[in-house]
Symmetry: C2
Subunit: 124 residues, 2 copies
DNA sequence: CTGAGTGTACTAAGCGTAATAGTACACTTG
DNA sequence: CAAGTGTACTATTACGCTTAGTACACTCAG
């Protein structure tokens, strides 16, 4: 389910968080479906249970999952809000990049052409 | 010249590198002009000389500056290549973000609208 | 009820990077 | 020659990531 990349400089727990979040938001993981337990996930990924616990805590913090003591961790029922939030973050990131391009001396026209190059034609 | 942000999670030397690079690429720092010495810059920024040295080493590595033993560090004469390289990185970053938006379930049309929203009208 | 499995919360240790501190050496310039 | 410079080390401290181990409250199947 999760694929860890040892060459990725980011910490393991962060990779787990990002991939789980993506799976939940995309609907690959059904709402209210149960996730592997902390210990089981740790076994599968060859990680320490504490590392997985840290990832689950972060996911809980972001509202992607909810925890039930003695039962397990479950996918949150409203991931659409998370999805919209992530799209907003993407929007902000692009804004920062365009601003940075301007700082590098790119003209408005050059920035427009840059953006234009990513426009795709709709398949009919 | 340089402004350090203690709340920025990135290491100090990285902040120095990025800001110096931006100043050099934008032409704020003239080509072949001399930079503050390692020790002087360390004084100004309240950093250890070693930290500044690390930043200068990275800038040397990127081709932004060149060093002359016993004389000082100087702004590289051809920063246009660096500028183009940074613009290419911005292009790649936007590509990744658009790809991420698609992964989040955004349609091609929604991505186009997102890009369109950053298009600016040329001032005449 | 009992025991296995679960989430959760600690402490301790090892490891790597960032940063500071100090020293040393080769070089350039006045 | 002396001051200032780049450069290269070592040692130390601090912090975050990770592993390891333990402990406790809870749920559920038996």
């Amino acid at each position: 389910m999760i694929h860890l990349n040892l060459h990725d400089p980011r910490p393991m727990y962060e990779q787990v968080v990002d991939q789980m979040e993506m799976l939940a938001v995309r609907g690959v993981l059904e709402a209210d479906s149960r996730l592997p337990s902390v210990r089981q996930m740790a076994m599968e990924l060859s990680l320490n249970p504490n590392t997985v616990q840290k990832a689950y805590s972060e996911l809980l913090n972001r509202g992607v999952i909810y925890s039930v003591r003695g039962k397990g961790n479950f996918v949150s029922s409203d991931c659409s809000r998370i999805r919209q939030q992530k799209l907003d973050e993407i929007r902000s990131a692009i804004a920062r990049l365009i601003h940075q391009a301007h700082e590098l001396g790119a003209t408005t026209q050059q920035c427009n052409e840059l953006l234009q190059s990513f426009m795709e034609v709709e398949q009919s």
